[in-house]
Symmetry: C2
Subunit: 471 residues, 2 copies
C-alpha cells in the first residue's frame, strides 16, 4: 500500500509533525478558551490506561485517593511565600458566583498543597495519624502564555499526591519511593521510555519544595521533557498551615511533607518519544487497543473469520478490536490504524482465507508477514512483548547516542543548542553557569551521579549536570 | 459491647443524623469555599467503586470516554434559550486569568452540552459518523444557595454522557437504554436501592430537554432523591450549534441528541437509603472493604491468624482489610467499622483461637455468631450476597409500605407532607395541580404507568404521578 503523505516529516518540522499527529490520529483538539484542550476518545483512551497503571502503583505504595475542592480562597495561596510567588502569575480567578460578586475571590487550583494542608492540620493530631498518604486525580489550571496541546495547557488532568510524615527521613524516603517505584517503574516498563533520573537544581525546584526529584525523557528531536516530579516539601507548608502532631514523647511537632504528580503531559511525551513519520507508536503494555483485526473485503467468510480471530485473541488476553467497516476503503482504514499507532494489525482477505493465513503488520518494528491463522493467539502475546522491549531499547539507545560528556559551560551550550544533551560536572557549572545558560533557553534538567543514581544533596562530589533544551 | 451514642438517632433528627454519619464515618468535610466539599478517603472509596461499575456499563452501551475543557465561553451558554435560563443563576464566572482581566469572561461548566455541541458540529459530517457516543468523568460547578454535603454542593463530581444520532427514534432508544441498562441496573443491582422509574413532567425537565427520564429512590425519612437522569434533547442544541450530518440520501440534517448523568449525589443516596442509627451500611457489591478481620488482642498467635484469614479471604475473591492496630482499643475499632458500614467483621481473639472459631458480625442484618475458621472462606461470598439481597428487599418494602394511591390533589399533599409518596392519576392532577403542590414544596417526582413502566408521552392514558417531598 502506498503511503499517503499525511504527516509533515519529523526531520522537516518536528513541532508541525507533532500537531499533525494529534490532529490526524484524533487525539485532541484545541479548546475554545485559549490554552485549553479537548481530549478525544482515542487520546483519552491512552490517558485512561496511564491513570489505571499509575493508580495501581500509587495504591501499592499505600496512598489512598480523595478529592479536594478546586476552588481555593485566594488568601490560602499567600501563606507560603515562595509558593504564591511561583503560581500567582498563572492563576485563574473566579470573582462571581450565583449571580453575585464574591466577598473574597477564589482561585482555581494550580496545585493543591495549600487547601490540602488546611485539612491535614485538622486530621493530623497524633503520631498515630502518620504517615498520612493521600492522592487525588483532578484537573488543574495554570494560565499558559505559550500553550501546546498535552505539553502546556491552561487546564490539564493529573494526579497529585500529598503526604505528611513524622520525620524528615520518612518524608525523604517516601518521595524517593514514589519517584522510583511509581513513576520510574511506570514510565520505563509501561510507557517504554528511558529516562534520566535526578534532582532539580535550586533554580528549577517546585515553588515551596526543599528538593524536587525528576524524570527526564529525551524526545525524538533531542529536547528533554520532564515526565514527572516528586517533591520533598520539608516543613514549609506545615509552618504556613500549622500542621503539627503530638509525638510519642508528648511534644507538639511540625510534620514533614511530600507532594508528587504526573499529568496528561505524559501523552505528549509518549507521542514525541515513540512517534515516527507514519504516526504514533503505542507501547503494547499501554495500548487500549493492542491489536486490530481488519476485514479487507466484506464477504461473509472474511467477516466471520475476522470476528472469530477477534474472539480468540480476546480470550488469549489481548486487547483487540475488530474493524469490519468494509464500506470504507481498506487502504484508508489501514493508514488510520497506523496513524493511531496500534501495535499490531491483522489483515484478512479472501486470498488469505484460501491459504489459512493472515497478514501480520507490526507497527513498531514495521513490516508485514503472513502468519497461520491457528498460530495467531499463541504468537501475539510474544510479539507484543518483543515490540514493547524494542521501544524501550530504541529510547535508551537514542538517549545514549545523543548525550555527550563535556567539561565546560561553552561546550555544554554547543551540544545542547545542536539538539543533544550535555553532561558535565556540576561543580564546574554551578548556579552562575546555569543562569548564563538560561539566557540561551538552556536548562539543567537534573543532577545525577556518574552511575545515574540520585545524589543526596546539591553539592555531592562527583555530581553531574544534564544540560538540554526542553519542552 | 455497649453502643456509644455516637450518632443522633434518625427518628430524632434525620438531617442531623446524616451530617453525623458523614463526620463520624469520615466520609467528607465541608470545603472552605461555601458549598464545596472535601471527599475523604473512605467516602472517595465509595465513589471510586461507583465510577468503576457505572463506567463498565457505559462502555458496554458503546460510549467512549473523552474530556472537554471546564472553561466555557459565556456566549456558548446563551445560544440555547431554555438552557441559559436554567443555569444562569448558578454560574461561577472567571474574569481574570494569568494576571489580566479576560476579554470575554468564561464560565465554569455547570454541564457540558454547549461546549460538546461545538465539537460535535465539527466531528459529525456524514451519517457514517453517527451515532456519536461520548461520556466524560468530570467536576462541575453550580453555585448552591442551600448546600448539603453530597446532595447539593457547589462543585460535584459526575459523569455526563452526550450522544448524537441520525433519527429521533435512535436518540429516544439510546436515552432509554442508558436509563435502564446503565443506571437502573447499577442502582438496583449494585447499590441495592429500589427505584421508581419514569419521565419528568415539563416543569421538572432538564433545561433544554424534550424529555427527561429519571430514577427516584425513597430515603429512610420518606423523601425522594433523584438518583440519575437521562435526557432526550431533541434537536434543541443541534439547532443552536448547527450540528448537522449528510444523510444517506444526500440531505443535510440536524442530529438528534441525548445527555445523561449520575453524580456524587449517589453517595448521599446510599447513606440515606441504607444507613441506620449505628451508621452506614454499605452494599457488599459496592463495598471497597467487604470484610474486615479484626485482631482483638495483639498476641502473636492472634495476629498470625488474622493475617492468614485475610489472605485466605482475599484469595476467595473477597475485598478484605486486616485490622491489627491493637494499640487502639478493640471496642472503638469495632464501632468505627460499624459506623463505616463494612458488611462483615470477623473478630478473632485468644479464646476464639482455642475453639478454632471467629465471631462473624454482619452489619446488614445485625447480630454475631461464632463460625469455624476453616469455613470462613467458603461461607463469606454467600453471606455477602444474602446481605446484598436484604438491602434491596428492605428498600423495596419501604417504598411499597410508604406509597399510597390517592385520588385527589388534597390527599396527595396530605400523604406527601406526612413523609410518604402519593400516587395519583396525572390526568386528575395536571400541570395546574402540580404548580399548586409546588407552593408546599411538593413535586411530581415522575410519571409512570400502573405497572411501573415509563409512558411514551406526557398524556398517555393511565399515567400516574408520584408526589413527594424531595432532596
Amino acid at each position: 500500500m502506498a503511503k499517503a503523505p499525511v504527516l509533515t516529516p519529523q526531520a522537516d518540522d518536528f513541532p508541525r509533525w507533532y500537531q499533525d499527529v494529534i490532529n490526524k490520529a484524533e487525539l485532541a483538539d484545541n479548546g475554545p478558551v485559549r490554552g485549553t484542550m479537548v481530549i478525544r476518545p482515542y487520546g483519552y483512551g491512552l490517558w485512561e490506561r496511564m491513570q489505571r497503571e499509575v493508580d495501581l502503583r500509587i495504591k501499592a505504595a499505600g496512598a489512598e485517593n480523595a478529592y479536594f475542592p478546586m476552588f481555593i480562597p485566594q488568601s490560602y495561596l499567600t501563606r507560603e511565600a515562595e509558593h504564591v510567588e511561583g503560581f500567582a502569575p498563572e492563576l485563574a480567578v473566579v470573582t462571581h458566583g450565583g449571580g453575585k460578586e464574591l466577598d473574597e475571590p477564589v482561585v482555581v487550583r494550580p496545585t493543591s498543597e495549600t487547601i490540602i494542608n488546611e485539612y491535614f492540620s485538622k486530621w493530623v493530631q497524633s503520631y498515630r495519624d502518620l504517615p498520612l498518604l493521600i492522592n487525588q486525580w483532578a484537573n488543574v489550571v495554570r494560565w499558559e502564555m505559550r500553550p501546546r496541546v498535552f505539553l502546556r495547557t491552561s487546564e490539564f488532568l493529573w494526579q497529585e499526591g500529598h503526604t505528611a510524615h513524622a520525620t524528615y527521613e520518612d518524608a525523604r524516603d517516601y518521595a524517593a519511593l514514589i519517584h522510583r517505584e511509581v513513576y520510574r517503574d511506570f514510565i520505563v516498563n509501561v510507557l517504554g521510555i528511558d529516562v534520566a533520573v535526578g534532582r532539580k537544581t535550586a533554580r528549577e525546584r517546585f515553588a515551596g519544595a526543599i528538593n524536587t526529584l525528576t524524570l527526564e525523557g529525551m524526545m525524538r528531536d533531542g529536547k528533554a521533557l520532564q515526565m514527572g516530579t516528586s517533591h520533598e516539601l520539608g516543613q514549609n507548608f506545615a509552618k504556613a498551615f500549622d500542621t503539627t502532631y503530638l509525638s510519642k514523647d508528648g511534644e507538639q511537632r511540625l510534620v514533614w511533607q511530600t507532594s508528587w504528580g504526573v499529568s496528561t503531559r505524559m501523552v505528549g511525551g509518549l507521542i514525541m518519544s515513540h512517534g515516527d513519520d507514519n504516526g504514533l507508536r503505542v507501547p503494547p503494555r499501554l495500548a487500549h487497543v493492542q491489536a486490530v483485526v481488519l476485514a479487507i473485503k466484506g464477504d461473509d467468510a472474511v467477516l466471520a473469520t475476522v470476528r472469530e480471530v477477534g474472539d480468540r485473541l480476546a480470550a488469549a488476553g489481548v486487547r483487540v478490536q475488530v474493524d469490519d467497516r468494509t464500506d470504507a476503503p481498506f487502504g484508508r482504514r489501514a493508514v488510520d490504524w497506523e496513524l493511531k499507532g496500534v501495535p499490531v494489525r491483522i489483515e484478512i482477505g479472501p486470498r488469505d482465507l484460501e491459504n489459512g493465513t493472515a497478514m501480520l503488520a507490526r507497527r513498531i518494528p514495521g513490516g508485514k508477514e503472513p502468519v497461520r491463522l491457528d498460530a495467531l493467539a499463541e504468537l501475539l502475546p510474544k510479539v507484543l512483548e518483543d515490540d514493547q522491549a524494542q521501544l524501550l531499547r530504541e529510547s535508551r539507545e537514542r538517549r545514549e547516542a545523543n548525550t555527550s560528556d563535556v567539561r565546560t559551560e561553552q561546550e555544554a551550550a554547543e551540544v545542547a543548542l545542536a539538539g543533544g544533551w550535555a553532561r558535565m560536572p556540576w561543580s564546574e557549572l554551578g548556579p552562575e553557569g546555569e543562569a548564563r545558560l538560561a539566557e540561551q533557553a538552556l536548562t539543567v534538567r537534573c543532577l545525577h551521579l556518574e552511575d545515574g543514581s540520585v545524589p543526596d544533596g546539591d553539592d555531592v562530589p562527583g555530581t553531574l549536570a544534564l544540560v538540554a533544551r526542553s519542552y
